[in-house]
């Protein structure tokens, strides 16, 4: 299906009226009803939704260092199956992506993969230690052109280091993506602190540990006139702080993961570590506040926090297990379930929160663009009427740690196009 011309026939563009979309080479050449196929390969898309290719601001591809759980190749294949055309690869690899050398390596592996663009994220501090700024400028000036910096997995908890990082990245329009977790308040933390943790006897991860850092960082960003991005916001209180910061006109953006839009800490009662994640699953009230905030734009985007782990790191007792869940291949389905099928947003809203806005935050050229003539042909086609149980055995990801195993979810990606080339055809990797 990698011919030069492809005609997507009868797709509902952004969920609107049926249109034909003609792809010529790497770009969209026409969008109109009733186009003539000419010599183009035809994709019949009646009833399907056409969106711009999804952009993930928060993906753990694990390479270099933990190729037993994921590689750039397997991770980008998973991304393509999930409808993504660009992912931001987080910096907590081994070695850490805190130098131009490592980010260029990840960037080159992404180029070689061909399934999805890989934009490396650079570490804020050397070794994610929170002590000394990494060479942010060198990473930006490298072939990888890093603009998003994050110590994700760890919080930049030192207020001075955070302030300096926010100031420093202004020189090249960078953004610091903060993993908001006050370390002292979360020593030994295993799950959300509340009713369930009190009964299960698992160490509590209080909401205030997230909210206090977010409050500090939006104030810092305002003070130095920089932009800050909040990773995986998970509590109703965090939503209130971000809403307040935005009302002031400060340059604050935020993301929410699919799992925080759907799952709650009640699931931890099974002690099954597949539900162990950082930040932890919260309460139903938090889930509802997050959905509402994503719908009204307080939360800018959905980011997967795709975190692959090998089987043995989850097939154990809770305290010994690794934190994190895979999410690339289920993200769109979870968003349909929680945001579209509930009536909170429409498909144009999904395009905005999963493509336009994350691309804008990452300053990614060529992604998150309108579906119009002359634009890059980064597209995803999905069948919203599909319903089926999630089977991790079908994943392209090397890891299987999905909290949705066996759960019925709506929607299925049928085709993904990266600059006109089909990376997924009829639900299968091309």
């Amino acid at each position: 299906m990698s011919t030069n011309k492809i005609l997507i026939r009868g797709a509902r563009v952004l969920g609107g009226d049926a249109q034909d979309v003609l792809i010529d080479g790497e770009t969209i050449s026409r969008v109109a009803p009733g186009l003539d196929a000419g010599g183009a390969t035809v994709v019949e898309a009646a009833g399907q939704i056409l969106l711009p290719g999804l952009v993930d601001l928060h993906t753990h591809l694990r390479e270099p260092g933990r190729e037993d759980s994921e590689t750039v190749l397997t991770g980008t294949r998973a991304a393509a199956k999930g409808g993504f055309t660009a992912v931001h690869a987080m910096a907590n690899t081994f070695p850490v992506a805190d130098t131009a050398g490592v980010v260029e390596q990840v960037w080159r592996l992404g180029q070689a993969s061909g399934y999805c663009d890989v934009q490396p994220v650079g570490a804020v501090t050397v070794g994610l230690e929170g002590k000394q700024l990494a060479e942010l400028g060198a990473m930006h000036d490298s072939a990888a052109q890093v603009r998003v910096f994050s110590d994700d997995g760890k919080c930049v908890d030192d207020a001075v280091i955070m302030r300096r990082a926010l100031e420093y990245v202004k020189a090249f329009d960078g953004v610091v993506a903060q993993h908001a977790q006050e370390p002292r308040l979360t020593e030994g933390a295993q799950m959300n602190e509340g009713v369930v943790s009190s009964e299960l006897g698992l160490g509590g991860w209080p909401a205030v540990a997230e909210e206090s850092i977010i409050a500090r960082d939006v104030l810092l960003a305002a003070h130095v006139g920089s932009r800050v991005h909040i990773c995986h916001l998970s509590t109703a209180g965090s939503v209130e702080i971000v809403r307040w910061a935005k009302s002031k006109g400060w340059n604050v953006t935020a993301e929410v993961t699919p799992h925080h839009l759907l799952l709650t800490d009640e699931l931890v009662r099974s002690y099954d570590p597949v539900y162990k994640v950082n930040p932890p699953l919260r309460t139903d009230a938090d889930v509802m506040a997050l959905r509402e905030a994503l719908a009204d734009g307080t939360i800018d985007c959905v980011a997967t926090d795709h975190a692959p782990h090998p089987h043995e790191d989850k097939d154990c007792e809770w305290a010994a297990a690794a934190m994190g869940m895979v999410g690339l291949e289920t993200a769109l389905s979870v968003v349909q379930e929680t945001m579209v099928d509930t009536g909170l947003t429409d498909w144009a809203g999904v395009a905005d929160r999963m493509s336009h806005r994350p691309a804008a935050i990452g300053r990614l050229a060529g992604h998150g663009r309108p579906i119009a003539a002359g634009e890059p042909a980064n597209l995803v086609l999905l069948d919203p009427a599909y319903r089926g149980a999630v089977d991790p055995a079908d994943f392209a990801s090397r890891s299987r740690n999905s909290p949705y195993a066996g759960r019925e979810l709506p929607g299925r990606v049928t085709h993904t196009f990266l600059r006109g080339k089909a990376t997924v055809t009829d639900g299968k990797l091309a």
């Binding site: 295993q190 602190e193 509340g194 009713v195 369930v196 943790s197 009190s198 009964e199 299960l200 006897g201 698992l202 160490g203 509590g204 209080p206 099974s270 002690y271 099954d272 043995e312 097939d315 154990c316 007792e317 809770w318 305290a319 010994a320």
Partner: protein, 347 residues
């Protein structure tokens, strides 16, 4: 009884949490323990009930008291007992819980008694499909210690209702105050659940730093004032408080803790006549309890240890489904003893 929700009726039951026990389950265990206690009074303290069955004591934390109690219990029922402690075993070489479990399964363990530092480890062992045998939680992290709660309830019933009079009865209306480090206490969690199930009224007393966020959903009252709670209590249960907690700012000094939450003779005098002083052990004499109180006639501390063996015999007997009544001659006319057997078999 003792079955997890949705468990296959052909799989053995487990004892993971006091929350798994209904009032009737708990009373049956206490009644069975009462029969077991009579065995301890005989010259030959042994029953043939679990002959040929294998009980593994899988202890990832040091606990000579609890392990020995389970060992004595299993041996009095004629089971073969294997003590598998983490120290000096493959576990200390980095073997996972799963591989340890698969090893024990291959060796044919009928029941695994597990003590583990991680909350939920026994639940994982029982539900992960790693083993087929019965799992008994002998204390997991800061989660639960259900046999401790059962032996405490047994002690309360014997002392307050009576050994014979108590048969078939629960603890309706008995007022129990649990004092100390509730936050880190698996004993407190199991006791709150079980005592509530048995109809007792539970009050927790602790400094606010040592009460978990979320305690509001527990079936008990919470107070920060020991002196306020003592006059209206039939039994006070003192929890061990580790001195190291001071270093994490849970309380300012050992002496301040002791002054505000320790049980001394003056405070004991403010309790009603006949009210009991309990402690799961090991005690920090001079910290949460003075020597004078610990050695007083109101203290049931040594009795609790003896009762622990009876309770663990009852639990192992009921879980492993002995083929005949636990004590053949005892209360032969009482259908309950045989009912227990029939119930286990027919399930």
């Amino acid at each position: 009884m003792l079955r997890l929700p949705g468990a296959n009726p052909r799989t053995p039951g487990h004892l993971i949490s006091a929350a798994d026990l209904t009032r009737d389950d708990a009373v049956l265990i206490l009644d069975t323990a009462e029969e077991m206690a009579r065995v301890a009074d005989r010259p030959i303290k042994k029953l043939p009930t679990l002959r040929g069955r294998t009980v593994v004591n899988l202890f990832f934390e040091d606990s000579t008291r609890t392990r020995t109690s389970f060992e004595v219990a299993a041996k009095r029922l004629s089971a073969d007992v294997i003590n598998f402690s983490a120290k000096g075993s493959s576990v200390s070489k980095g073997e996972s819980l799963k591989d340890t479990a698969l090893t024990l399964e291959a060796m044919g363990a009928d029941a695994v008694v597990i003590r583990h530092g991680a909350s939920g480890a026994p639940y994982r062992l029982a539900t992960s499909g790693w083993i087929d045998g019965a799992v008994v939680n002998a204390g997991d992290g800061t989660h639960e210690h259900p046999t401790q709660a059962l032996l405490d309830a047994f002690t309360l019933r014997r002392r307050i209702v009576g050994a014979d009079e108590g048969l078939g009865k629960d603890l309706a209306g008995v007022r129990v105050t649990i004092v100390g480090d509730v936050l880190h206490s698996r004993v407190a969690r199991s006791n709150v659940l079980l005592l509530h199930t048995l109809g007792a009224e539970v009050t927790l007393v602790a400094p606010p730093t040592l009460v978990p966020v979320g305690v509001g959903s527990w079936p008990c009252r919470v107070s920060y004032d020991l002196d306020e709670a003592l006059p209206g209590t039939d039994a006070v249960m003192m929890l061990r408080v580790q001195r190291e907690r001071m270093n994490a700012a849970f309380f300012p000094t050992e002496r301040e803790y002791s002054r505000r939450y320790g049980l001394d003779a003056d405070r004991m005098d403010r309790m009603p006549d006949g009210a009991l002083v309990m402690h799961p052990g090991p005690m920090n004499r001079g910290m949460e309890i003075t020597a004078e109180v610990a050695d007083s006639p109101r203290a049931t501390i040594v009795e609790q240890v003896a009762n622990g063996v009876s309770i663990r015999m009852a639990v192992l007997y009921l879980l492993l489904g002995g083929n005949e009544p636990a004590v053949a001659h005892a209360r032969a006319t009482d259908p309950r003893a045989t009912e227990a057997t029939v119930t286990e078999e027919s399930k």
